[in-house]
């Protein structure tokens, strides 16, 4: 094999290597600057537009999917709410789906809602916070069946 051919092979390989690295960088670049900005974020305020959409027909729940939210510990053990009525409001207020007589729970404390197949709990700016496991949540957090959600002195769980 001639010297020139080997030289060309070497240059070609280095070129492939760099084309790969530069393409990776360009993918990262488009990932940063080419992402879609949702309407709500662009307008600054949360748009109430979603209200107009007709609610999706309730799908058949998957096997093993949780069906209800249950109070397992606290002032009102055994209180439950069906997840079919989601989103569920948790609090001391009369409009709450799970109404708790716990002095450490805010009137509108937290909310459990679905997105796709997953269930989320979201704190609604409560005084004492909402905990998933040992951690105080600051953003909507996924919960599965059996994960303990604590509001005030009450502990709730998703159950099958």
């Amino acid at each position: 094999m001639s010297e020139l051919t080997l030289f060309l092979i070497r240059i070609a390989f280095l070129a492939i290597l760099w084309i790969f690295v530069l393409s990776a960088i360009s993918v990262i670049r488009s990932d940063m600057f080419g992402a879609r900005v949702p309407e709500t974020a662009r307008n600054g305020a949360p748009a109430p537009a979603r209200k107009g959409k007709a609610p999706k027909a309730p799908r058949k729940p998957r096997r093993g999917a949780p069906t209800h939210l249950l109070v397992v510990e606290g002032e009102n053990p055994g209180t439950r709410a069906e997840l079919a009525d989601a989103p569920l409001l948790i609090g001391r207020g009369s409009d709450a789906a799970i109404k708790l007589d716990d002095d450490y729970v805010s009137t509108r404390h937290a909310r459990v809602a679905a997105s796709g197949d997953e269930w989320f709990v979201e704190d609604l700016g409560s005084t004492n916070g909402t905990y998933v496991g040992p951690v105080r949540i600051t953003q909507p957090t996924t919960i599965g069946p059996g994960v303990q959600v604590r509001v005030g002195k009450t502990i709730l769980e998703l159950r099958k």
Binding site: V21, L89, G133
Partner: protein, 467 residues
């Protein structure tokens, strides 16, 4: 926090098509390198190129399909970067095998590495399929920590422990040699992340200010002292400077990220300085490493000498900007060219151009890890991503810095490139964990309808008294 779904101001796309495109390029790098090795060393395209290429392609496609199914929002760049580095590493090891074969030495490193890569990809797939939410790992904080420490102690056990090349970091089970420390580092990252996410407030807030630096309280020094002790134990008992540096650096990085306090870096830096000084004074090995680094030429003929490092430096110098080409260098002059010194082999035969591309690849892996940490929604995920990124960063810095003569040489493997089964498998698991965290982080947050605020009502709620 009613509109946290748009925390970063935009929604991430899935980008699986971009990943596929990059994977095709990565395969071109891996298979192209293999073909170039055959052409350069033997003058013909290797006979098993089709078989080898299809095996590599099958592995990568399997990994890609798994990501598509179980982690559709995962980062699109990580897997291709890793695939390219692994493919290039395999080709370079194959190139060394061909020379070793001609010299009559053992020549099955590439074959074994391919087996280990297969195992690594299988574990990658298993991790992604079984672990659907990384927060599950938080439950195993102390289990992971205990298991990690146990794995580090394992090589000292009489029957299974092995000492290879002066470092007692191996175990031998049923004919297989394995470095448990490689698995331990993943477990320790999980343990640190779980521990720090719970105790960060105590570590971050308490303390007193001395001059300009907030120094932590004495009683909070426990974990850092314990980790320092473990690192020193590794250094003194296992005679392994690299791992000791890796574990302590990893802990310090995560502590700093968790608490945002430079005070910890000061404390850690002082501890590390003291430890390094003690090691320099009392451990002969460390003193040798420093001497070889400062005056490599003086110890060329000594035993133990700097022969390996000097040959590596010669090789890289001879390689120059674009290298000698596969088959035209003499990387076999460097002992362990296929493992710790693989970077010097690449420097000799592909030159600075390739070295820069490789370092850039590692840089991108670390950048993606930090990016995942930034956009992750939970503290545990953030710390996990930072820790996993720090492992790669520290390892690359220590190894490439050592081989190029920037810092004293310590034995660590170059992630994904060098020959070494335990390290390769552990690194594939690291990538799987990073992809899992990034899938959670980039998945659009649930769009929960805003609640209409019905009057203020918080007066009647009692505030929980802390303490």
């Amino acid at each position: 926090m009613s509109q946290t779904g748009t925390l970063m101001g935009f929604v991430h796309r899935r980008r699986r098509g971009a990943e596929l495109f990059l994977l095709v390029l990565a395969l071109a790098v891996g298979i192209g390198a293999y073909a170039a090795v055959g052409l350069g060393v033997e003058g013909v395209v290797p006979a098993d190129l089709v078989g080898y290429g299809s095996w590599l392609t099958a592995l990568i496609v399997a990994a890609h399909i798994t990501v598509r199914i179980v982690a559709p929002y995962a980062d699109p760049v990580l897997l291709p970067l890793v695939a390219a580095l692994n493919g290039l590493g395999l080709a370079v090891i194959r190139r060394l095998d061909l020379t070793y074969e001609a010299l009559g030495q053992s020549d099955t490193f590439a074959r074994q590495q391919l087996t280990w890569m297969t195992l690594g990809v299988i574990l990658f797939i298993v991790t992604l399929v079984l672990l659907r939410d990384h927060r599950v790992l938080q439950r195993f904080t102390y289990t992971a920590g205990l298991l990690g420490i146990l794995l580090l102690i394992l090589p000292f056990l009489p029957v299974i422990g092995r000492e290879i090349n002066g470092a007692r970091i191996w175990i031998n089970v049923a004919g297989f040699s394995f470095q448990p420390g490689e698995v331990a580092k993943v477990l320790l990252v999980i343990a640190f992340a779980g521990y720090l996410v719970l105790h960060r407030d105590a570590l971050a807030l308490a303390g007193r200010r001395v001059v300009f630096i907030d120094l932590p309280r004495g009683r909070d020094l426990g974990p850092i002292l314990a980790m320092f002790g473990v690192s020193m134990m590794i250094l003194v008992l296992q005679n392994d400077l690299g791992s000791s540096l890796l574990f302590f650096g990893l802990f310090l990085t995560m502590l700093y990220v968790a608490t945002e306090r430079p005070g910890w870096l000061v404390v850690g830096g002082l501890l590390f300085g003291a430890g390094a000084l003690a090691a320099y004074t009392f451990v002969g090995n460390v003193q040798n490493r420093f001497n070889f680094w400062l005056h490599p030429m003086d110890y060329y003929d000594a035993s133990p000498g700097s022969y390996q490092l000097v040959e590596a430096l010669f090789g890289q110098g001879w390689g120059g900007l674009i290298g000698r080409g596969f088959g035209n260098g003499f990387p076999e002059r460097v002992p362990f060219a296929y493992s710790d010194f693989i970077v010097s082999t690449i420097g000799e035969e592909l030159g600075l151009t390739a070295i820069m591309a490789i370092i850039l690849c590692y840089g991108l892996i670390v950048e993606r890890a930090l990016r995942i940490a930034l956009i992750s929604r939970d503290g545990f995920g953030k710390l996990l991503a930072v820790g996993l990124g720090a492992i790669v960063a520290l390892q690359v810095f220590v190894v490439i810095g050592g081989v190029t003569g920037l810092i004293p040489l310590t034995g660590l493997t170059t992630p994904f490139l060098s020959y070494g089964g335990s390290s390769l498998v552990a690194n594939w698991v690291i990538v799987a964990l990073l992809l899992r965290v990034s899938d959670q982080a980039r998945r659009p947050a649930p769009r929960l309808d805003p609640v209409d605020e019905a009057g203020s009502d918080s007066e009647s709620t009692q505030v929980v008294k802390l303490r």
